[in-house]
Symmetry: C2
Subunit: 438 residues, 2 copies
Amino acid sequence: MKRYVIISADCHAGPESPVYREFLDPAYRADFDEELKERERLIAERRAQTSSTNFVGDDEFKEEWFGEDEEGNSLHEIGLRGGWDAVTRDKELDADAVCGEVVFPGPDAVTGTMGAPFGAGFNPVATKSPGHLLAGARAFNRWAAEMCSQSSERRRGLIVAPLLDDLEGVMDEIRRAHGEGLTGGIIIPPRWTGHESYTSHRYDPVWALCEELSLPVHCHSGPAPQEDYGEAPGWITVYGYETIFFTGRPLWFMLLTGVFERFPRLRMAVTEAGSYWVPDMLWRMDMMVSREHGMRKLVGTRDVLRMLPSEYFDRNCAIGSSNTRRRELARRYEIGVGNIMWGNDFPHPEGTWPYTRAFLKDRFWDIPIDETAKILGENQAEFYGFDMGALQPIADRIGPTPAELGQTDESVLAKWEPLQAAGRPWLSECEAVAVAGE
Amino acid sequence: MKRYVIISADCHAGPESPVYREFLDPAYRADFDEELKERERLIAERRAQTSSTNFVGDDEFKEEWFGEDEEGNSLHEIGLRGGWDAVTRDKELDADAVCGEVVFPGPDAVTGTMGAPFGAGFNPVATKSPGHLLAGARAFNRWAAEMCSQSSERRRGLIVAPLLDDLEGVMDEIRRAHGEGLTGGIIIPPRWTGHESYTSHRYDPVWALCEELSLPVHCHSGPAPQEDYGEAPGWITVYGYETIFFTGRPLWFMLLTGVFERFPRLRMAVTEAGSYWVPDMLWRMDMMVSREHGMRKLVGTRDVLRMLPSEYFDRNCAIGSSNTRRRELARRYEIGVGNIMWGNDFPHPEGTWPYTRAFLKDRFWDIPIDETAKILGENQAEFYGFDMGALQPIADRIGPTPAELGQTDESVLAKWEPLQAAGRPWLSECEAVAVAGE
């Protein structure tokens, strides 16, 4: 059997903090030195306390993540080294069965003290000033272009594009970074605090540029209105619950106000925020726009959208569905099999690395082979322009076969037939049978 | 066959605007006179423009809602008159097959120029000052206690309780209004703008009082951060999409920070914000708290919750599932058949009045009779303390039989068996077959 070409739509890379200095515009280096000192101070303060990280997980997981193997390496150290060292990185991706990857910043989702300067991470927020943020973005983008030039057939790098303030400045940076080889797309801040939201036509020039350069727009998980959560015990679970919503928000702001009508070739992905919510989102949107009784007094999209929201979604959007759940796979005909892009979130502890082979077997054992191939790689290849021919030799070396994912029994597939036939039942007028997995 | 006792968990009542004057504390009457003048001015301004309402729906629906019948009545006028006149109200509820009702303020969801003083509606927001808001709440509560004393076996009135500012003042008002006969529960503002959110223990005295008086806490649809939407065409659909989330928000803030652990007999309902999202909410919460791999680095609820979130939900919460959709009924074993409380939203145009009999047939034709009885009435009776014995004679007169809802074919029920057996599949470890309806 042919081996799957697996592409992770969600990986993270970045150098050790001080390295960013040489990639920064000189005018910002002194301020970055101050930021580095502050990071050192934070690390020392934490070491003096009970824990050297912001890791509040259980002891078993701490041991797994920070404990050393026979060679004296912890998962944490391997991951961070793979964050900047392409050789380590390729070795880890190989072991994890991943041929290609989409590269976001921020390899260290543990200590919170590494990362691009001035808040220019996968969820960019100005920690000092908008000018500093854009300078930090330039530093990451320059570094990332170099990193992604190694094993370049395996990588698509993203451009950090903090577009809320200096629209012209960020467009210059998008053009520059694209020219340097970052062709995967741009990363925008999912929250617009103090600025116009993504219903505004103010951002149209950026969408036009992304359409022109074929750069998908990305929102990556992490954002939430932390100011709402207070300090009561349990607030962190509220954060974990809500960040899904606050990551996806720009998607429906843009979709429902006609961005994809005005820019028919613009593409957008929401990454590491699950995909389980997509069916209900499409159902609600389609019903609101078309024939929902409860919206009859408020119908307001007739002049804005010329297609159904689900049609724009299929044409323009995709989901970076890191660590895809059984429950999400069961809903794949409503989400759209062609819209789901699996990812391992390397090297974050909430992802599947270094256990991806086991996770894939657990999740995909009863999913048809052609659909598995799409979700694990073909969708990513189409969305990001990977050359599947160039990746196949890597897959022949490291990729799992369907049998290795437990996809051995054709008879289990019959259960999906009514679901597949119904597709999106609110459009097919056919009530579907769905497997509601874990 | 026995006729269904139907109770609407979502109805609205209120007098014509000037009537509130006599129910207001004298000190606030002059300011209310000013507010009335402003409302008049708004109405006149709109009349001078194209439309006398904020109704932007299609022409067909406008004709249906505002056009006159042979007796010269429009649906809009009948609804508003039923808003304050108990005789008209009972007649309309009878015609709509509804025996009992839970009473929120705000019968007029069309012009936006009626309603309790100073923002004290079903989604209370201070339009003038916190003191004014509480005065407006008292005025509504006094009026509602009188209205609900007519056909009292049919009504449970809710207390408007704007608790964000003057905690003691609002607790006094809850005690007073409860003493006057409003025993259905309290209505809190779903948004806490500028105040501590519902993760805060600051509101514990109110929860303690509600537990003591057996008053469920309510959030009703409508809220959203309108400041985020701007003015671009299509923004109103974004609002319609998001108000579901912003109505339910206090539920997960309270649940995940242990309010129902600290107040085990406190109950809470989220009303007119759908119920389709409840299965995913419970799944996500349970997974986060128990064994979700992606949350292992952040586990933070161990000291806050002693049960699974879904267990608190079953014990303490319910959904005012106005105009329940097929898609929601298909998920009833995950939501919990005992947690869904149907409502007709009388007299709002987004509800099912005056077409409830047709809607029920369309939605419930293949739902088992015992489950239909729960969702349409028994759950509400238990949650709000209606006397089903007192309502049965009304049902014998106006209630539909199962046959009238099309529930004639026992053979259709077999399709639900695997779903029922699986319940919540993430807990039963049994992947369920679900009907994903419209």
